[in-house]
């Protein structure tokens, strides 16, 4: 009988999810609010369970396939909070687009469960299964808007390329299994460290694993799906894809590369360096040419993922914790950015073009200010938190002697600042073309305000979050 206590959050969420699935059958469309509340309650209880069962030591269970440490708890709470926030942001949006079905909420919860499995996985098997559980929920959510041909096309592209990436990942994992004889991250580490495993096969497997991870993270040259999917999916789903899954993806990359394949750090850090530079270059330069805000944010995601890799590739505790800090901040920024698009959208109108932000300051100074903070943070302008996140990643890369990479990163983020600041210019210095009043539920507006101000507050006082990231990574690395 395996020890079940460490996996209590997953077990609770699965039970709550099954219950919501059944209760939702008894609710008809006008009363979908009940499902929404139940989903929020399930996530809130999950957060409480996760925090109360969190331990500062590393706990393994289910024959070493499940791991719980401080990093898993922090990332899981991050996932719950971002999903709770995005469900509040998107409530009016999905109502006005006929997406407000029970499946939207249950599939979100399934995806959350998948992310939790990924974050807590300690074996190639559970890593892969968690990834599939998350992805399947997301594919279906993208396609949920059936009468939209753009959404269907996006779902198809997402599904086919996602399946291809899973195939690459599995092929790489099978090579690693062949070379080391184990699926367990800890045993893979020991087998590689001992030097018994065939080096050629290991590197061959590593190439496929990195390519698969590259697809899932959306870094150049595996980024082709990102703009189309971000653009085509309903904004509520784009927000989902863009925020919480990146936290899980970070845990995934961390477990595989920094955990199992740590002895191959010289090999993978070179691969990641190429991916990082290409992502920052293509992401930032292509984003300038976009007239659609969702597409622009998609390219901005690509460049942010490049920065994330910059932190990971330094291969030190400092680098990992700055990458973790970066991914948490990134999720917060994305929530705000897409949340603003949804706030400005209304029935039959999608505020996803740059034009729609023209003169926002005269329409609603508060919204414009929040958007200003978000854009400053994405561009990395002090005193917002985006600056500190970029700074700590660059410092970690500099400490390990990646001078060239750091210079390139700074150059490309300077180029990137142009398109973020263009939005600020449109909002403050242009006359509005659209003067419809900004609607939106009051809870979403308040939360969006908090989200925007968090950029400023975390930017001035980043130490506590940074310390939390460092502590979690240290406890996690000690468990390898």
């Amino acid at each position: 009988m395996p020890e079940l206590t460490p996996a209590l959050p997953e077990i609770f969420l699965l039970c709550a999810l099954s219950l919501i699935l059944i209760l939702d059958l008894l609710v008809d469309d006008p009363k979908r609010f009940i499902t929404f509340m139940l989903t929020q309650a399930a996530l809130a209880v999950c957060a409480i369970v996760t925090i109360s069962t969190a331990s500062s030591t590393v706990v393994h269970t289910f024959s070493n396939m499940y791991v719980s440490d401080m990093m898993t708890s922090v990332l899981k709470v991050g996932v719950y909070l971002s999903v709770m926030t995005l469900l509040i942001y998107s409530r009016r949006y999905i109502q006005s687009r006929g997406l407000c079905k029970g499946e939207f909420y249950t599939l979100s919860l399934f995806a959350v469960l998948g992310m939790m499995v990924m974050i807590s996985a300690n074996s190639f098997l559970t890593l892969y299964l968690g990834l599939e559980l998350m992805s399947l929920g997301l594919y279906a959510m993208v396609a949920l808007q059936r009468d939209s041909s753009v959404a269907t096309e996006a779902a198809m592209k997402y599904f086919v390329l996602g399946a291809l990436a899973s195939g690459l990942l599995l092929y790489g994992m099978s090579m690693l299994y062949g070379a080391t004889g184990s699926l367990d991250i800890g045993k893979v580490f020991i087998a590689i460290k001992s030097g018994q495993a065939n080096q050629n096969v290991l590197v061959f497997g590593l190439v496929f694993v990195v390519a698969g991870l590259g697809f899932k993270l959306g870094v150049v040259p595996f980024h082709m799906w990102i703009p189309d999917v971000y653009h085509g999916a309903p904004t509520a789903v784009t927000l989902f894809i863009g925020s919480a899954p990146k936290l899980a993806a970070f845990a995934f990359v961390f477990r595989i590369l920094a955990g199992g394949l740590q002895p191959l750090v010289h090999d993978w850090s070179q691969m990641l360096a190429i991916l990082a530079v290409l992502s920052m270059a293509i992401g930032n330069i292509t984003a300038i040419a976009q007239a659609n805000l969702k597409r622009m944010l998609a390219y901005s995601t690509i460049s942010h993922m490049g920065f994330l890799l910059l932190g990971i590739l330094s291969g030190t505790v400092n680098g990992y914790s700055s990458a973790m800090f970066y991914v948490l901040v990134y999720a917060l920024m994305t929530l705000g950015g897409f949340g603003m698009i949804m706030l400005l959208s209304r029935e039959g109108f999608e505020a996803d073009k740059l034009e729609d932000f023209r003169g926002l300051n005269t329409r609603s100074p508060w919204s414009a200010f929040i958007m200003l903070l978000l854009m400053f943070s994405m561009a990395g302008i002090p005193p917002t938190v985006g600056f500190y996140a970029k700074f700590s990643v660059l410092q970690a890369a500099l400490n390990t002697g990646h001078m060239g990479l750091v210079i390139a990163a700074v150059m490309f983020s300077l180029i990137g600042a142009f398109y973020y600041l263009r939005i600020v210019k449109l909002m403050y210095f242009d006359a509005p073309v659209d003067d419809a009043p900004i609607s939106g539920t009051s809870d979403a507006r308040v939360l969006l305000g908090v989200n925007g101000l968090a950029m400023l507050i975390l930017g001035i006082l980043p130490q506590s979050l940074m310390a939390l990231c460092e502590l979690s990574i240290q406890s996690s690395v000690a468990g390898f």
Binding site: L14, E103, L125, T126
Partner: protein
């Protein structure tokens, strides 16, 4: 000796039929070649003493999934010439990539680097060994966590399939069992007395 021969036979058929799956002009032929590929893969698993998995592969994939797939392929009206449009524009690029990829894999995985010498052959199983029993034991003990996740993945598949395909159209003629049962003869049949025409 005979085992090696059987292995190479199955492997050769597997590779050729997989190639045929992607090169066949007719989608129905593709599907049938896929069936052949599954059969030969099952043969390879039998050689590895994994009888249960071999039988399940044939039963589930060949028996259920592929039959369903064949039905779908036969019912769809696929415009093949249109699908093949533009293939020549992309062929040189794709072929170049594929050749580079194959050469790289050959260099890395060539027999002098990835030979049999480096891999220890697994020991054979004792006489009374039951693959089915062992599989059942492992799935419910050591692998219970991934097994449960796999079950949840199937649940997601069911939920999303229903969410994506179930649509209530206004013109759909659906049966309402309660109304059907509540029907009386009076509501359906009207007896009209008619005069006989003389």
């Amino acid at each position: 000796m005979i085992e090696t021969l059987v292995f190479y036979f199955f492997s050769a058929v597997l590779i050729l039929s997989s190639l045929a799956v992607i090169t066949a002009r007719n989608p129905v032929h593709s599907a049938l070649f896929l069936v052949l590929a599954f059969f030969t893969a099952a043969g390879l698993w039998l050689l590895l003493e994994a009888e249960f998995l071999a039988i399940v592969l044939v039963l589930v994939y060949v028996g259920a999934v592929m039959v369903l797939f064949l039905f779908v392929v036969m019912m769809l009206d696929i415009n093949i010439p249109k699908l093949r449009e533009g293939i020549w524009a992309w062929l040189p690029f794709g072929a170049l990539l594929a050749i580079v990829m194959v050469v790289e894999m050959w260099i890395v995985l060539g027999s002098e680097r990835f030979g049999l010498a480096g891999v220890i052959a697994p020991e054979g199983h004792p006489v009374g060994y039951s693959n089915t029993k062992e599989l059942g034991r492992l799935i419910y003990t050591q692998y219970v966590y991934p097994f449960e996740i796999a079950a949840v993945i199937l649940l997601v598949a069911i939920v999303s399939a229903i969410a994506l395909t179930l649509r209530r159209r206004k013109e759909t003629k659906s049966q309402l069992a309660s109304e059907q049962l509540a029907a009386h003869r009076q509501g359906r049949v009207r007896l009209v007395s008619m005069k006989r025409a003389d």
